[in-house]
């Protein structure tokens, strides 16, 4: 039972892109995410599945696959893995992810196949078949995958439907965060997790060294750029994909236009129409409190300032802002608009996301300003801006999550190696827990301490809980069971008999010839002045001349013509008995002479 937890990133180990982390926990293999690396056109875009190539196929190796959210770097290889690689086991994601992921996968498939003429890629039908296998999970729901594996979903913010997943097998557990953010944004709430104390927390670390509020700054930056261009009479083109970033930017522009009372027209082109925002309307319970509480009167996704674009508007004079698909300027409306506007230095194109090599977007971001098209070369005079809006936790957010969930180990993925090292220092410094950053294909073993539990009676439990949680008692092994007994229970159930352990010390006064009562009187005075610790108490003199404090008795007897001081005490009063006997042993009869 107490095997190590083994973790291997098949992708996103010390890297961003193609997230895929394999976890082996108590003999069960869980795969978290099945992403695609957008930066590669060859097999490197898939996670390294050779690691799990086995004669029996992936279904024999993997017991459960969980997709954290709809971004392609987390789900892009899913149809490949299920339909081509042959995984047929449990596949878990949230309902919004199940709704939106296939659309993004289809968009991506189109670019790859139509644009690059790839033939060995998954098909539309395969995407559909893959999605049919999904079992959806609600926030905070616990799903029992089989008799050993349970999965619980937590809210992660980041994008609509993003989840963090706690997988438990036996006494071990792993919390995988996917991408998350710890501050609420325009349309989503922030990630939340209870004190689930997982054996291992696997956290993303994209912005491991970034400071908080940087997203707000980037938003302000974005709005300022848009505003400056339209104020100067220029046009702004924002190439986006139909879902995700587009809705967030629309909310941002909508709010800004409202606040600044701007009249400059804002359009989104056809690919972004109702269908896309409908998903957001249907999944409003996954957005933040503000949107949830106001949607009856005003649906945040019914935009007042943004209207549908018609290609005839392209050559309208004066300023405008246009959101157009696709996001990488490789074809379609966004490319057409770009070609029409790029000669004018007053205009601007803002790329809000990643661009695949070979696309116009990628060339622009790499500094090309002369672009070859089928109609000859064109010069780009318009301003080109790149702004990343991904909502990820920053260092402070990651530390906060660790504090909230109290893991025993932390593994960092989905980030740059150098930044991870910085964060690891902070984590080990603040929490004194082991922290790892495995590279792709590198297996780490996390030793698991055996978990031992003992049973406690309801009555004792309740009385301990009501008395400040301090437990004092005994652990007893009985019939292969461990019992935690309170003192009273232990005495009673084990049939323990009270036993007095009595300790004695005596001091013979050889050089003194004093009355016993005088000796006792002087001793009393001396002890009272030396033992001043209030906690120990003070000696009382009885009328027979003896001194008493709790079980400690001091008497003076005459033995063989000499006075002998006897000190006697029970072990419970050891602190006092010890103090008295030490004083007598050290000072001898000087104590009484003076």
């Amino acid at each position: 039972m107490t095997s190590d937890i083994k973790i291997v990133p098949l992708g996103a180990g010390q890297d961003v892109g193609r997230s895929c982390v394999l976890v082996s926990i108590s003999g069960k293999n869980i795969m978290f995410d099945c992403g695609m690396h957008m930066g590669y056109q060859d097999e490197r875009r898939f996670p390294d599945f050779s690691y799990i190539s086995q004669p029996g196929g992936a279904t024999d190796v993997i017991d459960c696959l969980i997709i954290s959210h709809f971004h392609l770097d987390h789900c892009g290889s899913l149809p490949y893995f299920t339909e081509k690689f042959g995984y047929n086991g449990p596949l878990i994601m949230t309902a919004p992810t199940r709704a939106i992921a296939p659309i993004l996968l289809e968009d991506y498939r189109k670019i790859t196949v139509d644009r690059y003429g790839e033939t060995d890629f998954f098909t539309t039908t395969q995407i559909k078949q893959c999605i049919k296998k999904v079992r959806t999970i609600r926030v905070h729901e616990t799903i029992q995958v089989d008799k050993d594996i349970s999965v619980k979903c937590y809210y992660a913010g980041h994008v609509l439907g993003a989840g963090m997943f706690l997988v438990k097998v036996g006494t071990q557990s792993v919390l995988y965060t996917g991408d998350y953010n710890m501050t609420p944004d325009r349309h989503l709430g922030c990630a939340w997790v209870d004190r689930c104390s997982p054996t291992v927390l696997i956290s993303e670390s994209t912005y491991a060294t970034t400071i908080r509020d940087s997203k707000r700054c980037r938003e302000r930056d974005f709005l300022k750029k848009v505003y400056n261009v339209v104020e100067a009479g220029g046009k702004v083109l924002i190439p986006v994909f139909a879902l995700g970033r587009a809705q967030e930017l629309c909310i941002l522009i909508e709010e800004f236009w409202d606040r600044m009372n701007l009249k400059v027209p804002v359009y989104f082109c056809h690919g972004l129409t109702e269908k896309a925002t409908n998903y957001y309307k249907l999944f409003i319970t996954w957005t933040n409190e503000k949107i949830k509480s106001t949607f009856v009167n005003r649906n945040m996704f019914d935009f007042k300032h943004i209207s549908v674009f018609d290609r005839s508007y392209m050559n309208n004079p004066g300023p405008m802002v246009v959101f157009a698909t696709p996001g990488m300027l490789h074809s379609g409306m966004s490319l057409n608009i770009f070609k029409a506007w790029c000669h004018d230095a007053k205009n601007m194109v803002i790329m809000p996301g990643y661009c695949v090599a070979g696309t116009m977007g990628h060339k622009l971001l790499n500094g090309s300003r002369k672009i070859e098209t089928d109609k000859g070369s064109i010069t780009v005079n318009m301003a080109v801006e790149y702004l990343s809006f991904s909502a990820h936790a920053d260092a402070k957010g990651i530390l906060q999550l660790i504090k909230n969930c109290q893991p025993k180990n932390v593994v960092l993925v989905h980030g740059e190696e150098r930044k991870m090292s910085f964060l690891i220092d902070k984590i080990t410094d603040q929490f004194q827990i082991p922290c790892f950053k495995p590279a792709n294909g590198e297996q780490i073993n996390i030793p698991c301490q055996p978990q031992v539990s003992a049973t406690m009676s309801k009555e004792t439990f309740k009385s301990v809980r009501s008395a400040g949680n301090q437990f004092d008692g005994m652990l007893v092994q009985k019939n292969n069971q461990l019992l935690l007994l309170s003192r009273e229970e232990a005495v009673q159930q084990l049939g323990l008999k009270p036993h007095t352990l009595n300790l004695n010390y005596k001091l013979c006064l050889t050089g003194l010839n004093l009355e016993g009562s005088v000796i006792m009187e002087r001793l009393h005075t001396q002890l009272s002045s030396i033992i001043t610790d209030q906690k120990l108490g003070t000696f009382k003199r009885q009328h027979d001349g003896t001194l008493h404090l709790n079980s400690v008795h001091i008497t003076c007897r005459t033995e063989g013509g000499r006075s002998v001081v006897h000190v006697s005490w029970n072990v419970e009063d050891e602190p006092i008995g010890k103090a008295v006997s030490e004083i007598l042993e050290e000072c001898g009869e000087d104590l009484i002479t003076n």
Binding site: T142, M474, L501, E585
Partner: protein, 630 residues
Amino acid sequence: MKITNHGNLDHSCCNLVKLNNVHIMLDCAANVASLTPFLPFSALQTPRLENLPSHPDMPGVLKKTPGGMLLVDSSLHLVPPDQVDVSLIDAILITNNSQMSALPFIMTDPDFHGRVYATEPCVLMGRLALIALCKYIEQCPTRRSEVDMNSIPSHVHSIFKQKSHMRQVYNKDVIDSCFAKITPVRYNEQVDLFGLVDCVPLPAGHSIGSANWVIKAGDYKISYVSSSSKLTNHTLPMEVISLANPDVLLLSNLSLNPMYFPDNTLSEVCNVVTSTVKSGGNVLIPCHSTGVILDLIEWLIQNLNKNSLSDVPIIIVSPVADAALAHPDIYGEWLNDAKQAKLYIPELPFQHSQLIKSKRIHHFSNVADGMREVYKTPCIVFAGHPSLRCGDAVLLLEKWRDDTHNAVILIESEFSFATTLAPFLPMSMRSYFCPIDPSINYSQASKLIKDIRPKTVVTSPTYFRAPVTHPNRCDLVLVSDAPVVELGVGETVNLQQPKTSINVELSLEQLDQLNMQPLKTSDGYQLVSNVSGMLKARDNKPTLGAPNPSSLRSAMYGEVELQELIAVLTSKGLTPNKVETLGAGDHFLITLSDHSSTITLSPNVTSISAHTGKMRHTLQGIVSSLLVSL
């Protein structure tokens, strides 16, 4: 384990369960039927009702209808759960939105310190239902008189027998502040109560977010099944598997009108509506703005279209109509498979938003709010309050009661047909009772008991007697093959719960320092170790933290065996010089080789005398190791 029924009717539930010393209230319903003895009122004057003759017993307070029913002219009152010690409650679990009406009474009690759990849609729908009621009351043009409920003679209505704790209906601020404090949960979410009890809500199939609860204390399992439905409706079907094999099945809220099958009454409603509008009459359906109405509208539209009556306006009048109609569409994840599948198209799960957009359905917060523009005869109006004691339903009924072409259809089963309509009788308008109660009936409940195999069934004794109206209908009686414990209103049952213990995890620090030693006990030698530390809840599991002895004085227990002591002394190089037997033979005096240190042994006292502190300390250690200190 103890269960007390604090409810005051079989269908306004409130059970207090004491399990593992945790007090859990299951549902918190006020008796809504207690609205019926009051004089109906609405936003506009209704002279006929206001001018009903006074009853000589209490002129100005009691009014008499032509049919002889006495009505109290006063602000509306509800009957909250009976005799609850609010301070005991650790948690309240809610099954569905009709079982929350007493929450504001309990939650505003300064002695209440518990937490309330309900599913996310249930919190919202429950809040809307209560807000609708308060808004109807606020809309009343004249201030209702405050009548002391204790002065009402009990012959007016049975609820005045327990009048001492009738409470005036709360206001919107109270509802808002209470409902904001409820913890929303999802199906299959584990709710942990102090690490002692674990509660999980499961789909009940009754309405959006309706839940049955599985409550576990260790291996002991209670399945609380209330307002469950086997009907095919808009919500997720009832889950049975997770309810199986409980120690106790607590069963409540079976169908209130088991003589009526909801599928039949649903089509009867459609038939009455069709024939009424065909003859040019208006239809009034007094109802709540959430729940059954959602399915009814979809059925009705289909039926009207089939009968080429698609131009008859359907009007929903409720102060919460907009929210009540908008919200079901955002709870796609809580709906049945067919509706859930629409999320992925994407399409709205319900038809009504589209029908509102296309002006097939209209909704208004009250009759004065623009209804005039779409109103034409014939029309179909859904309006509240279903008690017919307040709201626009009262107004419309007063307006339409004289026309024999018009029809009123009562569909909410918690209100009795005769009493609800009594203030409006006699009238020419036709009236129909078509209760659409999705709750399982007696034979379905009997089958459920067979399926989930409980060790004990705890339920209302009334379910085992056929209704007075149908004494020979054995299908209207609950049959249980498991032992039954009857729990009537106001009663308590005590059930034997196997002695449970709590699993406490030992922290690594604690394991590191454990020193298990054999100890002679009344059962022979056992391995024991002293432990102390703080008990913490980690991952909702109790854990004993790092060793941390308390300052409590400890005492010694056990017995010191002479031979054992000599053996240990010898092994430490302190071979005794002399051992003497004293007294009756169970006292010994051991003198050590330094001639001045001695140990005296007796069965329950050991006494050590030593010349130096160091020697005494050594001997004390040796003797202590043979004893146990606690």
